[in-house]
């Protein structure tokens, strides 16, 4: 555009304010490209906001300012030389603390790994660097991604920017809180049973758990390998898709990651062609009144846009939570066995023999929820119990998968609330793990079935954000984005600002 066009655009664009922290990644990309913003200026604004707010919110556990500034300046130089690497060049992406960044802490918010510096980059970090993105600080989480409130972090507390007395959700609570507080435009989370979508819902942002295999897990510290996926989190659908596109590339270092030929994504569907499945009786199951109302409003909206709404039956969904807590803990008990103080991580000073050192290091290094899950997982795999628990859970898992695939033959997406109730108060459920496990009742089936699932802000329960949840067939991410974009465009939840 020429100068006069630019001035008109400047005056008519409501986001063109000093509030750089509220810009979407898509808008930042436009400004960087237009030359009206530098990465350095953006980073300076975000760092100022970080200094002002991070103590209050507790989202970041680590931020290397000189490194961030150097990355921003390198990006600006590339752009100046006409060598910008793409739409993400110069845009900060904050990283959940269970994704490896070379030379930075990889604590998983655990005392066990509090002093670990990663000697390598995860695949997603390599992909982001190749796209020119700025690797921007590390985000708090539940220890080893086990939890739904980020209260299991051994490092610090994180608070919901919408109500600092409440939890941000978890385990990617730092990611969701940083986005809602305007500390960063994009963030990576990881999702094993809802760890991206549940905090996204609680903090009023967008979060995608991609199809299992779409994004390499190389460099993601494993919790439950057959369920874990890294995913993009953002304040808008466009931003979420922009980030996903940079992350979803083949990687031979993860044998479960799709190769080039397997990446056959399903095309988007126009809203008047869209078939939405609602699991029968879904809103009767302990769903809060205002959450149910917001979900019904979303359904009504889609109906008004010409979408077809049908009820679907997923009879085995009731088995999802118990199935998940068998499969996930079994894998976790094995995945977390490597933290023994021998090679890295916390090493007990009390031990006199190698075996004692391993025992004491683990006893001292892990928090109570991690220990609870390791013990549970060890039990369900034990001789004499494996058939009754682990093997049965695998059968239930394949039933849940086949029921979902059958339903998704008839509909494009399955819509539910993301979480039955809005964010609860800090400390309210920490002593009641079973109650806490129900936070993931709607999100867990997508992990068990390896399906893509998206949480989209859709309203409020009093002052607290609420999201709806879309699940699609494998590789239907474009469908999920297209369907939710229609909703987002007609509502004002995009870029909603938490009242900090």
């Amino acid at each position: 555009m020429d100068k006069s066009q630019f001035l008109v655009w400047l005056m008519t664009n409501p986001d063109m304010s000093d509030a750089l922290h509220l810009l979407s990644a898509t808008e930042i990309a436009q400004r960087l490209q237009a030359g009206t913003l530098t990465s350095r200026a953006l980073v300076d604004a975000l760092l100022a906001r970080y200094h002002a707010l991070n103590k209050k919110v507790g989202a970041f556990t680590y931020l290397a300012e000189p490194d961030v500034i150097a990355q921003a300046e390198a990006s600006d130089l590339r752009r100046k030389q006409g060598k910008a690497l793409g739409p993400l060049d110069g845009i900060p992406v904050a990283i959940k603390d269970n994704i490896a960044v070379k030379g930075q802490p990889l604590t998983c918010s655990s005392k066990m790994l509090a002093k670990l510096i990663s000697p390598y980059d995860a695949h997603v970090i390599e992909a982001l660097r190749a796209a020119g993105a700025i690797i921007y600080g590390r985000l708090n989480m539940d220890e080893f991604a086990m939890g739904s409130s980020t209260e299991n972090s051994a490092l610090q507390k994180t608070y919901n920017p919408w109500d600092l007395a409440r939890i941000p959700g978890g385990s990617s609570g730092g990611s969701a809180a940083a986005l809602a507080a305007g500390l960063v435009p994009l963030a990576l989370g990881s999702d094993t049973g809802g760890s991206i979508r549940q905090p996204a819902s609680h903090c009023g942002v967008v979060g995608l758990k991609p199809t299992y295999g779409l994004i390499s897990r190389y460099g993601l510290v494993a919790f439950a390998s057959s369920l874990d996926q890294i995913g993009p989190m953002a304040r808008s659908i466009d931003d979420c898709e922009l980030l996903l596109n940079a992350l979803a590339t083949p990687d031979a270092r993860d044998m479960t990651c799709f190769d080039k030929e397997q990446r056959t994504s399903l095309p988007p569907v126009a809203v008047n062609q869209l078939r939405i499945g609602i699991p029968r009786g879904i809103l009767d199951k302990g769903v809060g009144q205002e959450v149910a109302a917001a979900t019904r409003a979303a359904i009504d909206f889609y109906r008004s846009q010409g979408a077809t709404i049908v009820e679907v039956d997923l009879p085995s969904s009731d088995l999802a939570v118990p199935t998940y807590y068998v499969v996930a803990t079994a894998e976790a008990s094995s995945n977390l066995a490597r933290y023994d103080g021998v090679r890295y991580g916390h090493r007990s000073a009390q031990a006199t023999t190698p075996v004692e050192m391993m025992t004491l290091s683990r006893s001292e290094g892990f928090g109570p929820e991690v220990k609870r899950r390791i013990l549970l997982g060890t039990f369900v795999l034990s001789a004499g119990y494996a058939d009754a628990y682990y093997v049965r859970a695998l059968r239930a898992r394949s039933k849940i998968l086949s029921e979902h695939l059958a339903a998704l033959e008839k509909v494009d997406v399955i819509l539910t609330p993301t979480v039955p109730t809005p964010a609860f108060k800090a400390g309210e459920k920490i002593s009641d793990p079973l109650q806490l496990y129900l936070e993931d009742i709607f999100t867990i089936p997508a992990n068990l079935a390896g399906l893509p699932a998206l949480s989209v802000p859709c309203g409020k329960s009093q002052h607290l954000p609420v999201g709806f949840h879309l699940v699609g067939a494998p590789l239907s991410e474009k469908k999920l984005f297209a369907a939710s974009r229609v909703f987002e465009a007609a509502h004002s939840y995009r870029h909603q600002q938490a009242p900090l």
Binding site: N98, I99, A100, L106, C108, L113, L116, S118, P119, Y120, A122, R217, Y218, G219, L220, V221, A222, A224, S225, S226, A252, R253, D254, M255, T256, A330, E331, S333, S334, A337, R338, Y339, D340, V342, R343, Y344, T353, P354, V355, M358, T378, L381, S382, A383, A386, Y390
Partner: protein, 499 residues
């Protein structure tokens, strides 16, 4: 103790490091003798966030082994986690194949010692249960000040070969291991260097009274790292069990260790302390499909089985047992021998004699100073460096058979050939060794020798009917021809002249 009334039942689990450049789930190379913890990377050390990637070369080596032992190669194989804590185990679980191993069944032919060195012993077929792939662990050592761990060995591809309980003595177990090592090395699947720990063995031993059909309670002795160790351990353990039973005690199912220094076994842990490995399918490695095209391609690499070769040499080529056995033990040597036979098929036994006696003797002689060989560093010549080529040896046997040179001359030609790599014919010409077959010249010499009064007595005896007396005339004739005369021709002409 009355061992004759007892039957010993043995099954072996043999762990073999496969011949691959890199480790089984990481792209880092492995080998013997590096500084501790040099052959590691984030995957080998099990750093958080790392994932295993199956080394296809290791899988193909395992399939090749399966084809060598006539095993079934299933359509797919899969990995499981075996969970146990030990400092040498970087992830505190070991990736192995519990339910879907890479090969199923198969058998190994073994040869038991014969009544003497020259007589072939009994052959037996030992069935295999399966073979599966797994990763080796590191090494923990204890020093005065603490414990040290080296992860160079961690992640080295291991093939665990599990037999059926078909072995009946320590001797059979040793014969099995010898046959297995021969097959593994000849197929290039593994080097089996036991000095480097490339082959380790667990022995499951039980005993029962002769005629019993039920198996007795077995013990498992872990980590035997030599064939003699396996033999000694089985003898010790069988004797121990027989003594226990004869003295009215019971055998406890237990895991045992073996002290090779004092040749005694000891209890590691009993059944109550047995590990619960909490096996479950590894979620990081998808089930691997084994295409029939891969199997067909690998089938072409399967070498002839050693005892098949032995039978062929004895039955088709007429070799004696001893020569055949020496040849089949070394694939390169047997291939060399066969190349020579191809070049001259008329006398395989003659060629075999040269190979087994002369060639092997000279190859094993430490060479100190020929041309490029350093004078200070003795070098044992390998077959690949040997200057004699198979066709050249064939040429030597041929001209000897044809009477061009005598057997005595052939030895001289062979020595020269070994030293220089020249053709037999060239050496014969250069040295003027050609056997004298000129009848005219020879007749003149014969007439002169017959005329010598010194031999008159022998001539008289021959004429009187003593056949052997003619031999006394041959020496002087050969001497006067400087050994170049053709012995057959001398014999023929002598008889003519003596009438």
């Amino acid at each position: 103790m009355s061992e004759s009334t007892w039957e010993i039942v043995i099954g072996l689990e043999v762990h073999v490091q496969l011949r691959t450049r890199t480790k089984v789930f990481a792209s880092v190379p492995w080998g013997f003798g590096e500084e501790p913890n040099e052959q590691v990377d984030p995957v080998v050390l099990g750093l958080p966030g790392t994932l295993p990637v199956v080394n296809r070369a290791a899988v193909e080596q395992a399939i090749l082994f399966g084809l060598v032992v006539d095993a079934t190669i299933p359509e797919r194989c899969a990995w499981d986690r075996k969970n146990y804590f030990y400092p040498d185990n970087p992830k505190n679980y070991q990736l192995t194949q519990k339910d879907f191993p890479v090969t199923l069944g198969g058998q190994v032919e073994i040869e038991l010692p014969g009544p003497s060195r020259n007589v072939m012993g009994e052959h037996k077929s030992i069935r295999l249960h399966h073979a599966h792939l797994e990763e080796d662990v590191g090494k923990l050592s204890h020093s005065g000040s603490g414990s040290l761990v080296d992860y160079n060995r961690a992640g080295v591809p291991l093939l665990e070969i599990v037999t059926e309980p078909d072995l009946r003595s320590a001797t059979e177990a040793a014969a099995f291991l010898n046959a297995l090592v021969t097959m593994l090395t000849q197929a290039g699947v593994a080097d089996c260097d036991m000095e480097k720990g490339q082959l380790r063995c667990d022995a499951n031993v039980s005993v029962r009274r002769l005629g019993d059909t039920q198996l007795g309670t077995r013990t498992e002795t872990k980590n035997l790292n030599s064939i003699s160790g396996v033999r000694d351990c089985i003898q010790y353990e069988a004797a121990r069990q027989i003594r226990e039973l004869e003295e009215g005690r019971k055998i406890t199912q237990e895991t045992r260790g073996w002290n090779a220094v004092n040749a005694r076994g000891y209890v590691l842990r009993d059944k109550e302390d047995a590990h619960d490995y909490r096996y479950f399918p590894d979620p990081d490695i998808p089930t691997l499909k084994i295409s029939r095209a891969t199997v067909e391609r690998l089938q072409k690499l399967v070498p002839e089985r050693p005892f098949h070769r032995q039978r062929r040499y004895m039955e088709k080529l007429g070799l004696p047992y001893t020569s055949a056995s020496v040849l089949i033990a070394d694939k390169a040597l047997a291939d060399w021998f066969e190349a020579a036979v191809m070049a001259y098929p008329k006398n395989p036994s003659g060629i075999a004699n040269w190979v087994v006696n002369d060639l092997l003797r000279d190859l094993s002689v430490v060479t100190t100073a020929v041309d490029s060989f350093s004078e200070t560093t003795p070098i044992k010549v390998s077959l690949a460096d040997c200057r004699i080529k198979p066709a050249q040896l064939a040429g030597l046997v041929k001209i000897t058979d044809e009477g061009v040179i005598s057997k005595q001359q052939a030895k001289e030609v062979f020595a020269e050939m070994f030293r220089t790599g020249q053709e037999a014919g060239d050496i014969v010409n250069a040295k003027g060794l050609r056997q004298n077959s000129d009848a005219g010249e020879l007749e003149k010499i014969i007439q002169e020798v017959i005329a010598d009064p010194a031999v008159a007595k022998s001539i008289a005896e021959y004429r009187a009917g003593n056949e052997k007396a003619i031999n006394a005339l041959k020496g002087p004739i050969m001497k006067r021809t400087q050994g170049k005369a053709n012995p057959a021709m001398i014999d023929q002409l002598l008889r003519k002249h003596l009438g």
